[in-house]
Symmetry: C2
Subunit: 348 residues, 2 copies
DNA sequence: ATAAAATATGCAACCGATTGCATATTTTAT
DNA sequence: ATAAAATATGCAATCGGTTGCATATTTTAT
């Protein structure tokens, strides 16, 4: 049974009558240390239950092997898929992950960004909170040349690296599909258009309408917080409209699913009376009845992409590396909630 | 514009013609430092853009202000709710959170437990992987008196603190409710019964059958991995049964939702022909049609409870504190998928 | 006015690993 | 046998804070 005490290289050095330097080098598999000595060191370290002290090492080497991640919330399918992707790559490369959730509050985002700095993370990955408009809290990272990358909800500035999907195109595709299916009055329910994701989807929606000769009617645009409550309110509003809209494009599957269910309960036939397209391809979208058409949003891949990019930044000493924007493929998935007739872009 | 250099207390000391000790104490708001001096120190620190170095501090103080969390996977509604709860409490108490996902692999769980030890986390919170049977990797935490707590999927050992729900009672309640609704042949689809959560739900299911004079039929018990694929296979198996089961208790809402949808497509009326109860109260359960009865599983609260308990362990120097098991309330929520007639325990 | 107490600051060791440089030892070449 | 080269190990400074103890300064009490 080994001791209760935490073993350091000094303990190993004493036991083997060697200097701490040799132990340190031995454990790092440094070629300057004799093979036999090395073996002895490894064996003794194991036997004594040695674990290196991350802090002493970090203090000396000035890097922490830790990546900070700030997301708006942890309990979301999309976010957790992104995190799973980040975690996979990060841990595979021997890094750890420090996570905070801003809870959509810009204030907390600022605070946690500071904490990440304190903790000397080697890099930071951020998905912006809904209401962040000032980005000064990220400047220290730029100043200290600490890689800072954004994913999904990003800063509209070419100087930052980011991973996104083409939200504008996706919004366009979703809307065009609804038009293809014969919709003429299409409601769009979306989130805070301050953020690129919702703003761009809206732009895509409007462009699709214009391109197909349908006037943009601001009565049909609902900017909400995409919660269940908002969904219910939106349904009430829709049901009061005259004439009733015949298409619905919602920026989020959960919200779309709630609308679908409530509209159905109100006697509206989906997709005959109203065709619906969601966004995200959450598991939710396969469970509604009828199944929800949606935009496939590759959360895990986005996480993997941003993490891979970050790891590359860290291994390349090449500080001159330019900021880059990676756009991952998103695609319309047509399911029952919007499928009225065979038309151009059909996928199942 | 401040410098590019990272500022240390030595820089502040030099600028103010004070010793680093005074700066250190000043920044800690130590009463030994004169109020005016303190003010000067804080102002200068701000002005110079000082950020304390976590590692130097940790190395000296021998604690890291970091809590490790190991979960089976990040992309799950339940887990992300638990994490959100943990994060809330942990960050509120000034700690950071280091997260790893074992991806249900015992091997990775062992590896990440070691990493957490290396990183000298002040405490560790674990939800066990599906196939972990040997728990020796946790012994170093016990040996070094580092608080180790489990949540949801736990070790069956009174010496460890944990936060759980009464899975056995919940299984009993779900099954009894189905029996109340007139079900006689109830299929139970569950996960790996090596883990307490699935084992106990199964035990509750069996006890309810026995208590109501219904024989336990092992043909009706499906031990699966609760994925979509398993759900589909289970449905095929159910449809081949003769006579058809009239009740279905599934240990997971997503899996239950898939079953519900497929059974409905096969022409089975829910709940008339087959009543269904899920588990978790995922958002999913409100979206199915008919809405899914389920067990409300307070993920966020469980996270908050386990984190609060951990923080208490850390602030009490009292090492003698006994291991405790916290059982949070879980409850049956009856929705349309199982509601045939008014009966004893009705909740909406 | 002087001693005692309270307050404020500094010195220097320490946490545990890393690493440039110096030194000791062994091997190889002449 | 001796010098040169290669190999192996050690010394000591360093990373940036923290803290016990000593010392200097000011305040209070007698």
């Amino acid at each position: 049974m080994s001791q209760d005490k935490i073993i350091t290289i000094y303990d190993i050095a004493e036991k083997l009558k060697l200097s701490p330097s040799t132990i340190s080098r031995g454990l790092q598999n440094n070629t300057a240390v004799n093979a036999k000595t090395k073996k002895k060191i490894f064996d003794t370290a194991n036997e004594m239950g040695y674990r290196f002290n991350t802090f002493a090492r970090n203090l000396r080497t000035q890097n922490t092997n830790t990546i900070g991640v700030i997301v708006p919330r942890l309990n979301s399918y999309f976010i957790s898929a992104v995190l799973a992707g980040i975690e996979k790559v990060i841990n595979g490369a021997g890094y750890n992950m420090l996570i905070s959730q801003s809870l959509e509050s810009s204030e907390k985002e600022v605070e946690y960004t500071k904490t990440m700095m304190h903790n000397r993370v080697d890099g930071l990955i951020v998905t912006l909170a809904a209401d962040t408009t000032n980005f000064d809290h990220f400047l220290p990272f730029v100043k200290h040349h600490i890689p800072l990358l954004f994913v999904d909800r990003v800063i509209d500035d070419e100087n930052y690296s980011k991973v996104v999907i083409d939200n504008s195109k996706s919004g366009y595709d979703a809307t065009t599909h609804l038009i293809d299916q014969g919709c003429k009055r299409i409601v769009h329910i979306t989130g805070n258009t301050l953020r690129n994701v919702y703003r761009d989807r809206k732009l895509g929606y409007e462009k699709a309408l214009i391109d197909h000769g349908i006037p943009v009617d601001h009565e049909l645009l609902f900017e909400t917080d995409l919660t269940e409550v908002s969904a219910l309110k939106s349904v009430v509003k829709i049901l009061k409209m005259n004439p009733l809209p015949d298409g619905l494009f919602v920026s989020n599957d959960f919200c779309a699913a709630i609308c679908l269910k409530k509209l159905k309960q109100a006697g509206i036939k989906i997709p005959e009376d109203m065709a619906i397209v969601g966004f995200n391809n959450d598991t939710t979208s396969r469970i509604t009845d009828p199944a929800l058409s949606t935009i496939n949003y590759p959360g895990q891949e986005m996480g993997e992409a941003v993490a891979t990019n970050l790891i590359n930044c860290l291994s390349n000493k090449d500080i001159s590396a330019k900021a880059q924007t990676i756009v991952l493929k998103s695609e319309l998935i047509v399911r029952e909630s919007s499928f009225r007739r065979e038309h151009k872009p059909i996928k199942l």
